[in-house]
Amino acid sequence: MEKKLGVYICKGCNIADTVEIEKLQEVATKEKQIPVCKTHDALCGTEGLELIKNDISGEGVNTVVVAACSPRVKFREFSFPGNLVERINLREFVAWSQEPKTEDTQALAEDYMRMGIVKAQKGDFPEPFMLEETDKSVLVVGGGITGLTSALGVADAGYKAIVVEKSPELGGWAAKMYKQLPQSYPFESLEEPTVKSVAERVISHDNIKVYTSSEVEKIVGFPGQYDVAIKTAGGTEQEKAGSIIMAAGWRPYDAGKLEHLGYGKNPNVITNVQMEEMASSGKITRPSDGKEAKRVAFIQCAGSRDANHLPYCSSFCCLTSLKQAAYVREKNPDAIAYVLYKDIRTPGQYELFYQSMQNDPGVMLTKGEVTGVSEASGGDLLVNVKDTLLGEDVSIEADLVVLATGMVPNTKIEQDVLAEWKKKFDEQLTASGGKPDPNAALEPHKVPNILKLDYKQGPELPGLDEAYGFADSNYICFQYETLRTGIYAAGSVRQPMNMLQSIEDALGASMKAIQCIEATANGYAVHPRAWDQTYPEVNLNKCTSCKRCTEECPFGAIEEDEKGTPFHKMTRCRRCGTCLGSCPERVINFKDFSIDMISSMFKTMDVPDEGLRLLGLVCENDAYPALDAAAMKRQKLPSAIRFVSVRCLGTLNLAWIADALSRGIDGMILLGCKFGENYQCHFVKGSELAQERLGKLQETLGRLMLEPERVELVQLSISDYDKLPEILNEYVEKLDGFEPNPFKEF
C-alpha cells in the first residue's frame, strides 16, 4: 500500500510554551515535504481527533504522525485502525523535561520531528505470519495429577489433549497415596484420594487420547505444528499438536544418600513414599519383624534444606508428615507420632490442618536438628536431636522412623549422566574436527530426557541456573514463561509443590497452551508481545550463514538447513529482535522496526559543527516509561540526547553505532534492563548481549579513530526514574570531556 503521511502537532500540555510550533511545521512541510501538516491546541480532544479522521477519509492520509504526548498515553484516542500511527513524544521528552524556548530545546524538538517522520516513512503495514494450518491439540507429557488436570483443563475448554505417560497406569505419585490432604475449608480431615476419578474422567473424555507405558520419542516442529513421535509398547505412534504442557513430575530424593539417618542400615527407617505404600496396604508396622509400630518418628527436611543434599525446601514434606502422623493415629489410637522439624511450613489455610494436628495429644511436634539415627536394644531406633526448644539434646525412641525426603524434578539431570553425555558430545566434536573445551560443562538441556525436541538449540527446556533443575520461570509476574515458545511446564517439575498447588498450576498451564494455539492461528506473537503481528523477515540472499542469530536467539526459534543457512521457525519467535541486532549483514528486519529505519532516524538528525549531539537507545518496556515518569515529575533532562525506543536492547546492531558516529553524532547511551542473575530483561539476554556487542566496539570505532567510551550501557529499572537526571548528566559531562566528533565536518 502506498503511504500518505499526515503530520499533526499538538500545542497543548506546555508544548507550544516550550517550542516554536511553526518551525516544527516547517520541518514537516519544507524539509520533509509532507503536504499535510496541521496543528491543534489539544489534539487528543474531539476536535483534534476529527481533524485527523477527516484527513484519513478526505485526504487519503494512511500514515498518521502524531507529535504530542508519549505513546504510552492517549493510546485509544490516537488509534486509527487500518492506518499506521507514529507518535512523537514532544510532551514528555521536550515540553516537560527541557528549558522552554531555548535554542537547544528547539533543536531537540525539531530532531524528534525529523526522526519521527522518517520512522513513519520507513515503517510498513504489518502482515501477520500465518501457518497454512494450525493444529489445535495440546500434548501433555506426564499422566500424574498435574498432567491429568491439565488435560482435563484443555479438554473441558473444547480442545483436544494427548496424554503421554511413562508408566502403565495414570495417576503418578498421587495414585500411590493412602489418603490426601484436605483440599478445602476447614482443612481438617484427610480425604480419600481423588486422582482415580480424575483419571477415569480423562480416559472417558472424548477430547482426550491417552498413551500409557509410552514415552515421547521425538518432537519435530513449532507451535501450531508439532509432529510428535510416541514410543509405545506396540511401536511408534504419530500425533500432531499445537502446543505442549510438560508435567513430567518428580522423583523422591535418593534416600540411599541419607545413611546418617539410618536409611539402608536399618529396615525400620523408611521414606515418606514408603509410608504411603505401607498405610495403603494396611497396618503401620516395623518392616524388620512385622510388629505394629507404636512410636513413629518423622524426620523433616531429610535431605532438604541441606547444603550437602537438596539446598532447597521441597515444600510438601511438612504437610505430608502431618498427614502421615494422622495415619499413625488413625490406625492405632495408642500410637504416638513424633514430628521433628526445623520450621513447620504450612502456609495459608493449611495452617488450620497443622492446628488440628497440634490439638491431637498423640502427635508430638518438636523443633530440633536431627544429628543421627542409631539402634537401641530390641530393634528400637534412637533418633538423636540437638538444639531443641528445651535447649538440650534428646534421644527419642521409635519403632519406625519416616524420613520426609524431598522432591527432585524429573528435569534434573544427575552429574554422572551429564558427564557421560559430555563425553559423547566431545567425541562427536573431535570427529567433526572441532576442539572440545575440557572445562566447559554441558548444559542439562542438551541431554535428551523428556521432550526430545528436534531443536538445534537442544532437546529440552533450558532451565535457570538458580532453579536446581526445576523448569521454573524467571519472572514473578509471568509464572509460565519458558525459553521455548508454546511449551509450558506445570506442577512439581516447575517448582516444588503439594498436590493442591499442582492442580492449580496445571490449569494455568492449560490456559497458556490454549492461548498459544489461538495466537499462532491468528498470526499474533505470544507473551510478552501478545499484540504484535510483525515478525522478523530475512533477506537470505545476503546471509553469510555466520550463525550469530541462531546462537543468540533466546527462544530457539532459528534453525539451519543442510548448507548451514539459518531460517526462522516463525511461530517459535517472540519478536524481540535479538536476531536483528546480531546480524552483521543487516538482513533481518521487521515491518515496523528495521536496521535501516533506525539508521535513517540517526541520519536525519541535524548535526551542527558545534555542540554535543547524543543518542539514547532505550528499552521500550522499562527505560522508556522511566523517562516518561521523570518528565512527569518535571525533572530536567539533558537537551543533547535524542531518545529512540527499541523493542529490547538485544536489537542493538553495531551498524547503528557506526552509522551514528560516522555522521558526527558524539556518542550513544543505551538504557536497558538488569542482566545476570535475577535478570529483568523480558527477552532474557537482550541487554547482556548488547553489552557483549559493545565489547567489539573497539574494532568498529578504532577504524573511525573514536573512543569506545563514547558508547555506554546503563542498567536501569523502570522505577529508577529519579536517578535518570544524574545518570544522563554524568554521561553528557563525560562526553563533554572528549574532543568533538571529527566526523561532524564531513
Binding site: 483443563g153 509476574c477 509460565y480 523502570i718
Partner: protein, 421 residues
Amino acid sequence: MSELETNILVVGGGISGLTAATEAAEAGYNIALLEKTPFLGGRVSRMNKYFPKLCPPACGLEINYRRIKFSSRVTFHTMAEIQDISGQPGSYEVTVRLNPRYVNDKCTGCNACTEVCPVEVLNDMNFGLDKRKAAYISSEQSFPQQYVIDDNACRKGDCSKCSDACKYDAIQLDMKPETMKIKTGSIVLATGWNPYDASKIDNLGFGTSPDIITNVMMERIASQNGPTGGKITRLSDGKEAKRVAFVQCAGSRDENHLAFCSAVCCMASLKQATYVREQYPDSKVYMFYIDIRTPGTAYERFLNKIKDDENVSLIKGKVAKVSEDPATKDIIVEAEDILAGGKVKVNIDLCVLATGMAPTVGEVKLPADVKINENGFMVPGKDQKGIYAVGCVKNPSDVAKSVQEATGAALKAIQTVGRKS
C-alpha cells in the same frame, strides 16, 4: 444506564485481576475488568520490590498495561463497585455502580488541577504517612494516567479552582454516580486483601509511636516515590533507622486475630531486611519469628543469603511487647528467645509489624450460593461453576501464586463460556 456485554467479568484490577483478564483476552475472549479504586495495579503498585528477585513491580505492570492498551478485547472501568449479581453460569447479569471520578477522559495528565487545588489530605497511597491534594494522581506510573478528585476531600460547591485551571474541559464537579449493567458468561473474583488492622493487636504497640509501623508502610517508606523518597527513617524525628526489628505473625497464626498463616510475611520481612541492610551498611536487623516459612527453591535461597549476613539476627520467639522508651524515644521489643532460652530485649529505631492479609471478598455482594468461610475466604465449591476465586480471595497468596491461580481461573472462566473458534 449503560450496558455492556462481555464473555468474562473480572472483579479487581490488582495483579490477579490483570492477569486473569489479559490471559483470557489473549485466547480470544472479551473481558470487562472492574476496579474499585481510581487506578489499576492494586496492592502491588504500592510495593517497592518483589521477593525474591528484588525487581520493581512496575516492570511487570507495564507489560500488563500494554497488554490491555493494545487489546481490543479488554475494557476496564475504575471506581466500579458490584451492586448485584444475578443469573447462572453462562448468563450472569451484573449491576455495577461507577462512582464519579469528577475527571473525564479528556484529562491529559497535565497536573494543572493538582497545582491549584487548595485542599490537602492524608495520602492513602502512602497509608497516611504524607499528604496529597484532593485533585491528584497516585503516582508517576499510575494507570490510567488520568487524574481524580477525592470525593471526600473536595470542597465541591465552594471551590472551582481545578475546573478553572483545566484547559481541556476534563473536570466535571457535578459528575454523578452511574449504573452499568454487564451481561457476562463468567465471573472471576480477584478483589484481593487488606492489611490486617494492626491496632487490634494490643501488645504490639501500633499507634503508640510513629516508629512502630506495618510491613505495608515499610514498602512505601522504602519506595523512592514514597513519603520519604525511599529513605528508611524514623517517622517521629526523621533520623536514619539503622536498628530495625521485624515482628512476624503480627496477627497471623493467632486465633484471636487471623487463624491462618498469611503466607507472604516471612518473605516480605526478609526482603525488607535487605532494604535496610542495603541502605545502611552499619545497620542491624532483628527478626522475631515462630517458624520461618520460605518454601521452595528461590525463597529458601533468599533465606540462606540473609542468614549469611551477621548483622541480621533471626530469633525464634513470640514477641511479648513493643513499646516506646519515653526517655530515649527508642522502640523496645521484648520477646522470648526460645532457642537460646530466656528473654530478650532490644532497643531499636523502627519496628515493623509483619501484619497479615485480611481477605476482602466478603465486601462484595455475591449470590447466595457463593460461600465465605469464617476466615473470610471464598469456599470454592467442588462443582461450582461460573464464579471463580483467585489469589487472596481463596487463600493467602503471594504474587507468584496469585499469577499462577489467576491464569488457572482464566481457564475456568473460558471453559464456562465455551470455545470460540
